[in-house]
Amino acid sequence: MAQGRRIKSPEGNPFERGKQVRFQFEGRSLQGYDHEPLAVALMAAGVRVFGRSLKYHRPRGPVCLHGHCSGCLMRVNGVANIRTCETPCRSGMVVERQTGWPSAGLDFFRAVDLLSGERLDHHGMFTASSVLNRIAGYVVRKLSGLGAPPTADPQTPVPISRFSSDAVVIGAGAAGLSAAKTLSGCGHNVVLLEAEEHRGGRLLDGATQNGWERIRDFKEEIESVAGIEIHVKTPALAVYPGDTLQVVAGNEGKTFWISARRLIVCTGTYEQIPLFENNDLPGIFGPRAMDRLVCGYSVVPAEPVLVVGERDATLRLAGRLRELNVTLAGVVTTRTEGDALTSLKRKNVEIFQDRRIVRALGGKWLDRVELAHRSSEQSDLVLDCRACVVEAPPAPAYELAHHAGCRVSFSSQSGYLVQVNDEGQTTHGQIFAAGHIAGSDSVDAAAQSGERAGLACALSLKDDAQVRRRLESMQKG
């Protein structure tokens, strides 16, 4: 089994590893670190197939590394469907794969994928006779389900913390941190909810210039102002509309039920994988996932790495990987100019211009990628690579705002964006939105929109001439 490679953690990395711990994986004892997600330790140990998909039993592995997708689900300590990318290694943990027969690694039901042709129509399936239909129902039921029901002891109901707040800010990225800081600076009490263990959002990405320093600055600033209550590893789960908004959030040991006079939603985006043949093959990651793996967690899952993309951030990531001595198979881009591209050329990274990815190939893990000319469907170049970073337009995380009744609009370019006015106010008077879900396209723009929404939100809570002047001067600037 080819192992992932651990590299030295760069200076200033917020994702520091703790002490070594050992955990059980399907009868083997593996090594990880305190604070390191299980998924990362598993990849470092060479585990590539984390599970199988439900219908075609195709191999699945971690994709987003940010707790959004279903690629890294495993059974942990007797509980099914645990996202291993957000579950830290702990000594003595028992970790197993849960799909596939006899195992996720070698799954005979993969035959379904290989034999079923272009598509398997589950609506018309087994309808030829009523007897066959009942037998098939019995068999299919045995095969259904992601994991076995929990064998761990029943959990005592988790305590609930119920309170009111002037404002709740969801998401501690550049926008959310700015909004919370601004609001509390205006004298309002604020609850800031962050799903991840670390604050920062995109600022945590190694490819974001000065991101890590800016997080430190934010941390100092936020800790210096009174009135912000921060909960990390506490994702907001729902916003129920009502006379006052009801925000429900939860972490491992506690559920929060908050009546909020105002809400600022700064939930950012979900990274997407573009559509091409076999785009679900393990080894294919979005730029932010690869960034988190290599720059943050200091694990290179496989090499050589091919990077496909147009955005500055993606090209900068390629440069970062090169600096960290990760073997690159090259960079595929339609870009012809820009500092990020020049810098890659200076680092002797091979650039494949005017091409796009049409197909990924491999058995249980990526082997190679076929590229075609921009204007053609036929592939004319095959590149060997064991990991591929490929960029797609991200999908804004608009759901919470939508639960609460805010209007959302779609465009093919940006996906679903929460509709806001110049001040970041949504169509729901008590809810504001800032950052990438409201259309910001950079961390700087996100931070600015967070500040603006923070000021407008503060004003809507209490009129204040000074705050109004600040907001006006921001609008002019």
């Binding site: 018309g124 009523s130 129902g137 039921r141 389900g145 992601l146 076995a148 761990a152 109901p157």
Partner: protein, 381 residues
């Protein structure tokens, strides 16, 4: 859209489509179905897919028994797999009064040829591993009740009806019904009008609004009913469980999800379909109490649909005074889906071949005027 039809069905839910499907199979295809949203937009796309024969009135037992027989054949008939799984239904009574009522209905069901049994809480625990039986007085169990996927039943019936010549118009909202004297003449929609002499009101939660367009007052009121679904797990629960003390029910779908809901006596009548934290909390608390191993099972999603409720919990079927061609098939509360195959068949035979059936008398709207109601005691959720 056709501008005239022999029959117009308002409502593309399971009741309207079951009728259209049966009519088409019997040869009547000059039928237009009007659906305001997409197929599965209303309660037919939002329910838990439970199918049971454990009812407290003869009519409902009869309809349910026939529907179970029909559901067993439906996947083949419509070429869409509805994944009907007869894992049984287990009702739980927590006090002596409910236990006595259970016993009475089981006797009635047995008389009608439905093999429900009263079983002890200990026997129930053998059917459901980990069932917390403390406080349970008695249970009734019928092994041929079951659960199915509602959506493919809707799509399949629509698809066959269309192939046979019925026109089903989705995203078409009825805005008026023109009446002349005792006759219906036209149904007006936001996409044009259809001239017709006969209209079926199978609009579920919207039935009272539709009826009013023709000058008929129905006593039906829509109520929100919420429901949730968990992560899909390997099969571990055979029957549908239903706690009669609070109207909670849940089962495991063919995909492996736990899916269920709970009654809320404080829910006001409304056209609301939003989700509430109150429901989530009450449902989680109640399901963990009954089956503690669900405590670690993850909730994936909650949603809501409607019960189209009448004062006695029974549907409104057949003709209404003073209109001749305005037929009601509504007021099914939470059990329209499970009775729809039989209702569609019986109504089609009645409309096309004038075969009368007792349900058009027992469940006529006029019963409320004459005070001849008999309440259904087993409306759950």
């Amino acid at each position: 859209m056709r501008d005239r039809a022999e029959l117009v069905i308002i409502g593309g839910g399971i009741v309207g489509l079951s009728l259209a499907y049966q009519l088409a199979r019997m040869g009547m295809t000059d039928v237009v179905v009007l659906e305001q949203g997409y197929l599965c937009f209303g309660a037919s796309g939002r329910n838990g897919g439970g199918v049971r024969q454990q009812w407290s009135t003869e009519e409902n037992i009869l309809l349910a028994k026939q529907s179970v027989r029909m559901f067993r054949q439906l996947s083949r008939e419509i070429g869409h797999n509805i994944w009907f799984r007869q894992g049984g239904y287990l009702f739980l009574a927590r006090n002596a009064e409910t236990a006595a009522a259970l016993e009475k209905t089981v006797k009635l069901q047995n008389r009608m040829g439905v093999g429900t049994r009263i079983i002890s809480p200990a026997a129930a625990a053998r059917l459901v591993a980990g069932l917390h039986t403390e406080g349970i007085e008695a249970c009734s169990y019928n092994s041929s009740d079951g659960v199915l996927f509602p959506w493919p039943a809707v799509w399949g019936m629509a698809s066959v009806a269309r192939q046979l010549g019925v026109q089903i118009n989705t995203h078409t909202r009825v805005t008026g019904i023109d009446v002349k004297g005792r006759e219906v003449v036209k149904v007006v929609t936001d996409r044009g009008a259809v001239a017709t002499r006969r209209v079926v009101n199978a609009a579920g939660a919207w039935s009272w609004q539709i009826a009013r367009m023709a000058g008929v007052e129905l006593p039906n009121k829509p109520y929100r009913h919420e429901i949730l679904v968990t992560e899909p797990l390997k099969p571990f629960l055979e029957p549908m469980l239903s706690d009669l003390s609070n109207g909670m029910y849940f089962s495991q779908t063919m995909r492996g999800e736990i899916l269920g809901g709970i009654s809320d006596p404080d829910e006001p009548s409304s056209m609301e379909t939003g989700s509430s934290f109150r429901f989530l909390a009450r449902m989680c608390s109640s399901m963990i109490r009954l089956l503690p191993r669900l405590s670690r099972v993850k909730i994936l999603r909650q949603w809501a649909g409607y019960y189209d409720e009448t004062p006695d919990g029974q549907p409104i079927l057949g003709r209404v005074e003073p209109l001749d061609g305005f037929i009601q098939l509504n007021g099914f509360g939470g059990h329209g889906f499970m009775l729809a195959p039989a209702i569609g068949k019986i109504a089609a035979e009645w409309i096309l071949r004038k075969v009368d059936h007792r349900i058009f008398h027992t469940y006529a709207l006029s019963r409320f005027k004459h005070g001849e109601t008999r309440k259904e005691n087993f409306v759950i959720g």
